[in-house]
């Protein structure tokens, strides 16, 4: 069933963006609140998020979302007023409500109504809210007076109607009468004015106050029933009776009053004190009973802890400043950033070209003023380009927090489901990564964290039996290291047993017994990443790691990242993920093979070796060399890339570039090393598509195009063939 909202597409888009922010904030903060129950600022921020979401969804027209949010807001309101405290069941129901909110938000995204049933959750929410004590009996007292009050109001209304169209008399005391007399002496008129406000008026007391204020602008108020104090205490009724001194004509005043919103009826008559005196003893003294019209408010009666002015401002509250920072940002389409990035890439290429041309010019026109000038300008352009590049890269960077923030909730749920007691710590959320990389590492991280909870951490009894604390710990941390970001998932669970992996790999036909025996422990452990290693059935037996480790490594390699395992049987495991700072521009080692230039991302390069004659041996039917006592298999780039040159280059220098991926080391044979430089990665385009071993292309300073080597897929290719 399709949904329609009275809003334009860009309004809906904005709503969704903000709703997303609010929902994320709610999730993060609710989980945090469970641990920091007394954090008032946190509570305020949570309440505000729910409140704003309620208002926006109501305005958009999504009634169910407004309703659901209202239910949650209710609970939060009571909590911040001290009428309810955060318990696990209450937190559970709030988080459940949040999940439903996410579904409702999806409805807006797809404009399709889901068949989710909100009855239960709404019921649970109101039950949870009702579970609180109303702090002050005053509230109850006030509520209890409503029936009394309403009768009184009806009495007044009846009395007013029963009375003549003329305004009923008002009892004035001596001071008030004096006031009137003085005013008359000054030539002013005295009026008795009756104003009926609409019963349906939202915020009746405020309307009453505004009406009084309008009257004050047109004269002096001698007396009003209810009094202004009563009105300010939110004890107004829909009837306002005022004695006014004014030099304005009666009709003028009535006109002004009738213009006010929610004013249904205005009656004004000259105030005759003598009559009032007589009226004081009249039986039908229409004194409006003091009542509380608290119908609209839900225990929002003037309790001491009520919202006071200045709530939320003042002392620097960290969360508030953070939100303030967010509102001082500009929303930029990711596409725009990508375009900017491309343009910067072009500049980088030209900058290199410029430097080259200048070099050529300089050697031709040695110390020519013009050339000097050009040189200076070029240097400046170079500097500015570098700065621009850095700024744009920064604009594309997002703190990993945006990715990490959903994990606390996930870990809480997973631990509960698995029956494990786990302390989940996050560190370094402010560390920044290029946004496209963040997109890619989400799934791998979820896999790793899931596995930590499901398989690595032992159930409390088992841990105690092993002499460990019953509570396991999982730590997700991110930090900046030179040109990389290191993300680590560390836990104190079972650890990985290399023997079990060897056995499983052999059993599954991934490697032979012989090979298994020759692998050292670290290599055996790295087999985890081979596809087909674990099946759901054998999960805990093998290594405590489930399906998906090959996916983890794949995704990471897609963004030029790598993953390493450090583990100790019985003690725990750490997965160390290394990621480049940015995708589009990387530092590469330029090499030449048969006069063709290739760029090898430095992140993949371990070292370079200059070969001496005869160093290449044949080992196990493959070319290899021996480096520091270990065999390094070789790959000839010209073969990998089908150069089809005639004859093999026997003499002359040869170099080997040692590359590493996921623990396997290989040597790439090239003719020469040109140097290191930054290259802008350009894709091969949709027409050519993916080419194994090639990550893309780059335009060199001289305008020629060089291929960028994709080491991961190179190595994979070879393993398959081998």
């Amino acid at each position: 069933m399709g949904l329609q909202f009275d809003a334009s597409p860009d309004e809906i888009k904005l709503f969704l963006e903000e709703a997303e922010e609010h929902l994320q904030l709610l999730e993060e903060d609710l989980v945090r609140l469970e641990k920091e129950k007394d954090n008032q600022e946190l509570l305020q921020a949570i309440f505000r998020a729910a409140h704003t979401l309620k208002g926006s969804s109501a305005t958009l027209g999504h009634q169910r979302m407004a309703q659901l949010t209202h239910g949650m807001e209710n609970i939060l309101d009571k909590v911040r007023k001290g009428q309810l405290s955060i318990t696990t069941p209450i937190m559970d129901v709030l988080l459940e409500g949040l999940d439903f909110l996410k579904v409702l938000k999806e409805e807006i995204e797809t404009l399709e109504e889901s068949d989710v049933d909100l009855e239960k959750i709404l019921g649970s929410l109101s039950k949870a809210a009702a579970g609180g004590q109303t702090a002050s009996s005053a509230a109850e007292g006030k509520l209890a007076t409503i029936p009394e009050g309403s009768t009184a109001v009806t009495e007044v209304a009846a009395a007013v109607q029963a009375a003549e169209p003329a305004v009923p008399s008002m009892a004035l005391d001596w001071d008030e009468k004096d006031h009137v007399t003085r005013g008359k002496k000054q030539g002013k008129m005295a009026y008795s004015i009756l104003v009926n406000l609409a019963e349906t008026s939202e915020m009746l007391s405020v309307r009453a106050l505004l009406t009084l204020m309008a009257l004050r602008e047109n004269g002096e108020i001698v007396k009003s029933i209810p009094s202004s104090e009563e009105i300010e205490r939110e004890e107004a009724t829909s009837v306002l009776h005022v004695a006014l001194i004014s030099d304005r004509a009666k009709d003028q005043i009535v006109h002004v009053l009738k213009e006010l919103p929610d004013v249904v009826r205005v009656e004004a008559a000259p105030l005759d004190i003598t009559r009032e005196e007589a009226g004081a003893s009249a039986p039908d003294g229409v004194t409006v009973a003091k009542t509380t019209v608290a119908a609209n408010e839900q225990a929002n009666a003037p309790l001491p802890k009520d919202e006071t002015p200045g709530n939320g401002n003042g002392s620097a509250k960290i969360k508030d400043t953070k939100i303030a920072k967010v509102s001082r940002t500009v929303r930029v389409d990711v596409e725009l950033l990508d375009n900017l990035m491309n343009l910067v890439g072009e500049l980088v290429i030209d900058r290199t070209r410029l430097a080259q041309l200048l070099g050529a010019l300089e050697s031709k026109y040695d110390s020519n003023d013009l050339v000097e000038d050009l040189n200076r300008t070029s240097v400046h352009i170079g500097r500015v380009t570098t700065l621009l590049q850095e700024e744009i890269m920064k604009a594309r960077m997002l703190p990993v927090e945006s990715l990490f923030n959903k994990f606390p909730r996930m870990m809480r749920d997973l631990s509960q489901q698995a029956g494990k007691d786990i302390e989940f710590i996050m560190e370094g959320q402010e560390t920044e990564l290029d946004r496209s990389i963040i997109e890619e590492i989400g799934d791998p991280l979820i896999h790793l964290l899931r596995n930590a909870v499901d398989h690595a951490i032992e159930p409390p009894e088992e841990r105690v039996a092993k002499g460990k604390k019953p509570q396991g710990y999982v730590k997700l941390s991110a930090r900046h290291e030179e040109n990389h970001i290191i993300i680590s998932v560390k836990e104190d669970g079972r650890g990985i047993d290399p023997d079990k992996i060897r056995a499983s790999a052999v059993k599954k036909g991934i490697i032979t017994e012989e090979v298994a025996r020759r692998l050292n422990d670290q290599e055996a452990i790295n087999l985890i990443f081979a596809s087909g290693l674990s099946t759901a059935a054998k999960v805990s037996e093998v290594s405590g790691r489930g399906v998906g480790m090959d996916v983890v490594r794949n995704n990471l390699e897609k963004v030029n990242g790598s993953v390493e395992i450090v583990t100790e049987l019985g003690k725990g495991t750490e997965f160390i993920i290394k990621l480049p700072l940015t995708l589009a521009i990387i530092r590469a080692l330029m090499v030449s093979v048969d006069s063709r230039v290739y760029a090898i991302p430095l992140g993949s390069v371990l070292e370079t070796i200059r070969l001496t004659d005869g160093q290449i041996k044949e080992i196990n039917k493959r070319e290899a060399i021996v480096v520091r006592g270990r065999v390094l298999p070789l790959l000839r780039v010209k073969e990998l890339f089908n150069h089809q040159t005639r004859g093999v280059r026997e003499s002359g220098k040869t170099f080997v570039v040692v590359v590493n991926l996921g623990g396997q080391q290989m040597g790439l044979v090239v003719d020469s090393l040109i140097g290191e430089q930054e290259v802008v990665i350009k894709t091969l385009g949709k027409f050519i598509g993916d080419v194994q071993g090639v990550a893309g292309a780059t335009i060199l300073g001289d305008g020629s195009v060089a291929l960028i080597v994709d080491v991961p897929s190179l190595v994979k290719k070879v393993v398959k063939v081998g």
Partner: protein, 157 residues
Amino acid sequence: MTEQVARVEEKQFVVFQLSKETYGVDIAKVWEIITMQPITKVPHTAEFIEGILNLRGRVIPVIDLRKRFGLPQDEFTRSTRIVVIEISGNTLGMIVDGVSEVLRISSDIVEAPPPAISNVDADYLEGVAKLEDRLIILLNLDKVLNKQEKIELENVG
């Protein structure tokens, strides 16, 4: 011939030579025409994909139309040109023997290609324009760039 042609359309075509035959492509799809330049080979791609080149900072793929159509190979000469086309967001260069002109061709002289008109598979052809002195074979660029066939080609080849 049987249908009532609503109106006669005139389109402009870029006319080029390929293995002694004359071809035309819709000018709306032609981005520019450049002289032959160094092309970087890309491994593990179909035969007719010559490689990639640098077009003012953009990396674009280049195909050799002779190879694409299975025509006999020849050396590149000074007249060899690369016709850069753009279709549904894809930019691509096609190596041709030479580009001669831009012609206005009206639809009333275009006929469906008879099966044996060209060495090129009729699938790639949109039609044949019968001019006074010659025949211009109009190419259906979408088909020429169809990747699916490329994959099939790879398998067959």
